[in-house]
């Protein structure tokens, strides 16, 4: 804070209030998270008497037991497969469509573009029952693709929008020069557009991955067998089984959100940019 003049040095309470306010909010955010992580190290009895502080005895076996169980790894594997497939398909399908809408005018292109943008207006939940019946009739119920395809379809509108805007902002001289040299659109897409599009691929990929990784409703409706459950479904089952053993549940929660937190700390800039990008559309 820059004080307006150095001659006047009266006590200014504003920074104090600000510090107090920030501390309170930081505590509001951090305390539930910290107690979750620490709670996983406590015995059930200690959790009850001492929920806030460090554990007296660090019960590593809560964590080791989960890490040694097949269950935890199967959940993470399923989530990883579903989220990777969703991300890859979203990137491929949306980038191609975004390329067409950015560079090619044809009869009906505007109308098609607006048709695709309808998807921005309503969430997947509105049509979840017909979606379930569709996936069932396609024979995709209880498969990874039964989850992946609807997720990709519902992320298309926003992704195409982001790709189209990015492609349009690339210098048009590039495309003109390439076309004069006899380069086809498809070659141009592969050899020029894609290599230049790392930032937007990272952005759209982040959104798609995080949404799929955290998704609950679509997998809940489409999957029946535990063997295919992604972690948000699996952790709900786990909580149902160990309903009173909060120390185990807290350890399980910690281990399942750990990948997200580690990734967030490693790539915070990309993730913040990616997740807020959809919002700042011009």
């Amino acid at each position: 804070m820059t004080s307006p003049s150095k001659t006047r040095r009266r006590f200014d309470p504003a920074p104090l209030y600000k510090a107090l306010f920030l501390t309170l909010v930081a505590a509001f955010v951090a305390v539930p998270l910290i107690t979750t992580v620490l709670g996983g190290f406590k015995s059930l009895g200690e959790l009850r008497t001492n929920p806030f502080g460090l554990p007296d005895v660090w019960e590593w076996e809560n964590y080791w037991g989960i890490l040694a169980s097949k269950r935890y790894w199967v959940l993470l594997r399923n989530s990883l497969i579903i989220a990777s497939l969703s991300t890859f398909l979203t990137l491929a399908v949306a980038a191609m469509a975004g390329f067409v809408f950015a560079h090619l005018k044809f009869f009906g292109s505007r109308m098609l573009g607006e048709y695709l943008m309808l998807g921005l207006l309503f969430p997947a939940a509105t049509a979840i029952l017909p979606l379930f019946i569709k996936v069932r009739d396609l024979g995709l119920l209880d498969t990874y693709f039964g989850v992946v395809l609807p997720q990709v379809a519902f992320s298309l509108a926003m992704s195409i929008l982001l790709f189209r805007r990015f492609f349009k902002d690339l210098p048009p001289e590039l495309l003109e020069a390439a076309l004069i040299d006899g380069c086809s659109y498809i070659d141009y897409f592969r050899h020029m557009t894609l290599p230049l599009s790392r930032p937007i691929l990272a952005t759209v990929g982040t959104i798609a991955f995080v949404h799929s990784w955290n998704a609950y409703l679509v997998p809940l409706v489409m999957l029946n067998s535990d063997a295919l459950y992604p972690w948000p479904l699996g952790i709900m089952v786990y909580q149902g089984e160990y309903s009173a053993e909060w120390n185990l549940i807290l350890a399980f929660i910690t281990l399942t959100i750990l990948p997200t937190i580690v990734l967030f700390l490693l790539a915070q800039k990309h993730i913040v940019a990616g997740l807020t990008a959809g919002a700042v559309k011009g």
Partner: protein, 308 residues
Amino acid sequence: MTSSVSASILRPRARGPLSKLLADDKLATIALFLPPALLLYTLFVILPIGEAGYYSAFSWNGFGSPTNWIGFDNYRYVFENRAFGLALRNNVLIIVVSLLIQLPLALALAIALSEKFRGAVALRMLFFLPYVLAEIATGLIFSFVYDGNYGLLASVWRLFGAEAPHLLASPQTSMLAILIVIVWKYFGFHMMLYIAALQGIDRSLIEAARIDGASRFELLRYVVIPLLYPTIRLTVFFSVVGSLQLFDLVMPLTRGGPADSSNTLVSFLYNFGVMRMRVGFGSAVGVILFCICVTFAFTYKRWMMRDD
């Protein structure tokens, strides 16, 4: 489309066959690049919402084909359902809390954190972290926080010698508990949008106001906040749309209970439509939700965001 001027100057004679070739290339590109997106989108987004409208006219459990036509009765059942009214009320409540508590909190934090000081970036990240966490994990963490026997709130209560309330188990407080979690989870997202907008503000405007003798409050009230109006309108939009589709957070906390006191529209759809396989009824709820979303999006864009 700029049909490259330079091309026509450089090769005036090759125009005929070249443009034909280009046209074919165009066609090939469109034929290859567009269908995957259109197919997926039509099959899994547009058709289902249309079918929701169709199914909502039937009493159907999802097996065989829908034959029992009942017209608009499903809509009547929905509106006569007490739980639907509660869900609607809860969604309104979520929107009100988002607009009156969450967004002002986010704005205040953004203003406090937009100045550079040690730890500002770390605090931003801490406040954004809940947004990245899955709703399910968040819900479970808070069902521990609220737990009457082991939870954090319970131990705070015991500190004062009082019997801990089971916030999630009472119809009077279940929604309050959920609202607090909603603020916890989402304020960081809005704060980041405000911070981005604050960084885009022209410093000279603020300097000019300072030189003119504006107090800190006047500076905020008459300079900074008006400059943020486009972003504020955007965050209002996201708050409303987000609250209309809230579901994941409710499930680990209360599943909509007790006594349907904490359903949202989507959890109502899930509990009454999907769980009981009442396809017609659930589709009717979906159509109602769809209409609310689309009406809101169009009117809001039309009336509030027309100058953006």
